[in-house]
Amino acid sequence: MTSIPSSEASRAAGDSRLAARLKRSYSLIQAIGVLAILVVIMQVSNERFLSPINIGNLLGQMTVMLIVAAGMTIVMISGEFDVAVGSVVGLSAAVAGWLMVRWIPSGTTGQQELWIILVAILAALCVGPFFGLIAGLIVTKARIPSFIVTLGTLMMGRSLTLVVTQGQPIPDMPETVKALGQGRWVNLPLPVNVPAAANSGSLSDLIVWLPIQNIVWVALLVYIVGWFVLERTTFGKRVYAVGSNRTVALLSGIRADRIKIYCLMIVGFTASLGGIVSLARLGAVSPNTGEGLEFEVIAAVVIGGTSLSGGQGKILRTIIGVIIIALTRNFLNLARIEIFWQGFATGTIILAAVLLEALQRRISTRG
């Protein structure tokens, strides 16, 4: 009997194991490299860039995007999209803000106010999962692409935000909420001030105290939980399996539809959380909160290396994607480039990122 000799093939596979590992971390190395180059360019062109105040502001500004991008990574790994996140951010912020302003009479303090704030936040946190559930049911039962379904929920969410806010900003959030969002209760010591230390010769001058906005810790928590769920739980494995090959997942006894619905609810939850964070940070709700956020978030996730076709991606790399997008915007601001050019720059970066991904895929399949 003849048979295709496979020993050579498997030996070749053995040789390429190291190469494969390198190739796998290659995109990470590359992303960090791009980030480093960006940082250098920015610092060179504007020495204010690496100042503690600018870094602190920058972290605060990107928090909403960070939180939503975590959920978007999960849903994109499962092979779906959610373009409604921007409007869910807006609607959640509006719901929370409306409840707080309406229920907290001026002058109330203490316990009662805290309870009302808590209820308002919880109510707002249900908005996203509810939108996700509806979209998920339509996507899985009627077999309609999630891009289209969430395009519908996007418009509904935007419109409901206008209904709740009556098209007007809701100002003057309770002081407690503002304190939560705008406070910087923790200063992070960073031993980076080499020139100062060299001048004075005292090691204590080496440290720069970086004030961190409280909301940044929320984002950090989201990523720790998200990483754990994706990498360390059965649910995470199922998400990857469903996104990579739905049939295989089904035949392994995985309820693929349910997983996709959960994923859409998760991204909805992160969008709601993002809305509340945005409200706390700004101390007000604008009727167009979160407008256009969806595409920035998807871009960040893609730049972070998550596959557009599902099944592949790492949630921590999404952080790099978000930073790259946020840095670009910050750079344009600092360089006093007209705001009209910002979309153009972001678009260029997105195209470069997906082209790079396509190029890599072609190289790796050619093997």
Binding site: I4, A20, V248
Partner: protein, 521 residues
């Protein structure tokens, strides 16, 4: 060949009641009746071989047992209790496990993740015990002597190792019933030994097994019982010891209808180079060293088992396998640039793929649009406007010539039956004036009447001097149409039958064994 110990199941007849019993199963897909009242039993501790030609209904039967399909009529009983599975997960919950024919692994995940997919050891709340998972996987891989590492990504493995991982994954689910659909077709000889030993061991542990395989020698080696299916019915059933390979082959083929062979119209050799020359065509892991020639007006059949590389060959000839292919393809002595379907088309090669719905017909386009798609440039007029009346008349000519039953050239392709859609595809490729026409399963999934018509069309095309490579697993088709038949086995051409040797028994025997039997047999 070492024999596998079958003494574990001592009794020749199953004494105990069946572990699983199907009665009167009927299943149709659109107009095709895949199962017409099938009774089937699986017994604990026994291996049941399930054989039959392609389309006999074997896979449909196992998919019903595995809960993937639901029967239109008939019952399935597990240990005497009737069950009705709504999906694969419900059958899995009853520990009915299937190794499907195609490789069912998540390619982007590692071996470890695949082996324990949806079966991971956890601490509750779905938190995975990573060390346990690693240990389990390492133990499994050592136990079954598979040369892969837990962290290898599945897509980086060669096909045979993927298949072994898939089999081990199924075994690790601790099945009560294990259905194996062509488990060995992509394995090397040594791995086949491992797999067959494993099958016997599971049987001795009391698992009820079903083994679907075209490799009859393997069936005879490990099975206790044998079921032969043909055209959606069980035609033979009983202990393996009471039958023989020739008996099984003739049961698979069934009716001894004499197939009328067409008259050969091969152009005489010796006038210049052959129409098509294939020289050492190889695709790593799929095809090795394929060489043959095709002359004007000749119909050469290519056949073999599922997984022997038939579709890989037809695609490689058309340059549709990317740049991986090695070797040369020459048309009328001129080499065809490799890896580019457009160049192949220009050189006069046409390919009819075996997947009409996904790779052939555009269901929402009209017949005219379907047929004229590859030759649109011929109808370009002033300012790029298409000469619509010329397109229509082209279509009308083809409708008449190939007897397409359709309302007219503006009908949508989806309104047509499968057989008539296939004729439209024939028209589409014929309009490109091919010199070499590669057809991959040209009569797959169409009714008997249309099959005969399509075969008539193929004969007619050959009559016009086109060289035809007929890639098919239908024995009747090979016997009726082919001047010669090339036999493929595990990615290589192992032999050729010509002239009077093109008979069903000899083709089937060569395809299942990989050996050409002596002419006297």
């Amino acid at each position: 060949m070492t024999n596998i110990d079958r003494t574990a199941s001592a009794s020749p007849e199953p004494a105990a009641p069946a572990l699983l019993q199907c009665r009167g199963l009927v299943k149709s897909f659109a107009a095709v009746r895949a199962l017409r009242g099938v009774d089937f039993a699986i017994h604990a501790g026994r291996v049941r071989g399930l054989v039959g030609e392609n389309g006999a209904g074997k896979s449909t039967l196992t998919k019903i047992i595995a809960g993937v399909y639901q029967p239109d009529a008939g019952t399935v009983e597990v240990e005497g209790r009737p069950v009705r599975f709504g999906g694969a997960d419900q059958a899995l919950a009853q520990r009915i496990v299937t190794v499907h024919q195609d490789i069912n692994l998540v390619q982007t995940m590692t071996v470890a993740e695949n082996l324990l997919l949806n079966n991971e050891p956890t601490r509750g709340f779905g938190i995975i015990r990573r060390r346990d998972m690693r240990e389990q996987v390492t133990r499994l891989l050592q136990q079954y002597e598979i040369d892969v590492r837990p962290d290898d990504v599945v897509s980086s493995l060669p096909n045979d190792l993927k298949k072994m991982v898939q089999i081990i994954k199924a075994v690790n689910l601790n099945p009560r019933i294990l259905l194996l659909d062509e488990p060995t077709s992509s394995l090397t000889e040594a791995e086949v030994r491992v797999a067959l030993r494993l099958i016997r061991r599971l049987a001795s542990e009391g698992v009820g097994l079903v083994l679907i395989s075209h490799y009859l020698n393997e069936i005879f080696e490990v099975s206790d019982d044998l079921t032969v299916m043909r055209d959606g019915e069980v035609v033979a059933d009983g202990p393996v010891g009471e039958t023989s390979l020739p008996q099984v082959v003739s049961a698979m083929i069934g009716r001894h209808v004499e197939t009328v062979r067409r008259a050969s119209r091969v152009a005489p050799a010796g006038e210049g180079p052959p129409l098509l020359e294939v020289d050492d065509l190889s695709v790593p892991g799929r095809l090795q060293g394929i060489s043959f020639a095709l002359r004007k007006g000749e119909v050469v059949g290519v056949t073999g088992l599922a997984g022997s590389g038939l579709s890989d060959l037809s695609r490689a000839l058309f340059g549709a396998t990317g740049r991986h292919a090695g070797g040369r393809v020459l048309v009328e002595g001129k080499p065809v640039p490799p890896g580019d379907p457009a160049q192949s088309l220009k050189a006069g090669v046409a390919l009819l793929t075996n997947d009409r719905l996904r790779e052939g017909i555009l269901p929402d386009f009209t017949l005219t649009e379907n047929i004229c798609l590859p030759i649109l440039s011929r109808f370009g007029g002033i300012g790029g406007a298409l000469d619509r009346s010329a397109m229509r008349s082209t279509t009308e000519r083809n409708i008449a010539r190939l007897h397409v039953r359709a309302p007219g050239p503006d009908a949508l392709a989806r309104q047509l039956s499968g057989g008539n859609q296939q004729k439209v595809l024939f028209a589409k490729w014929l309009e490109t004036n091919p010199k070499v026409f590669v057809m991959d399963e040209p009569t797959i999934g169409i009714d008997v009447g249309s099959k005969d018509e399509i075969r008539g069309i193929i004969d007619e095309i050959a009559g016009t001097g086109v060289g035809i490579l007929l890639v098919t697993t239908e024995l009747d088709e090979l016997v009726a149409l082919c001047d010669r038949v090339l036999i493929m086995f595990r990615g290589a051409i192992v032999g050729e039958l010509a002239g009077d040797a093109v008979v069903r028994e000899r083709i089937l025997h060569a395809a299942v064994s990989g050996e050409i039997r002596a002419a006297a047999a």
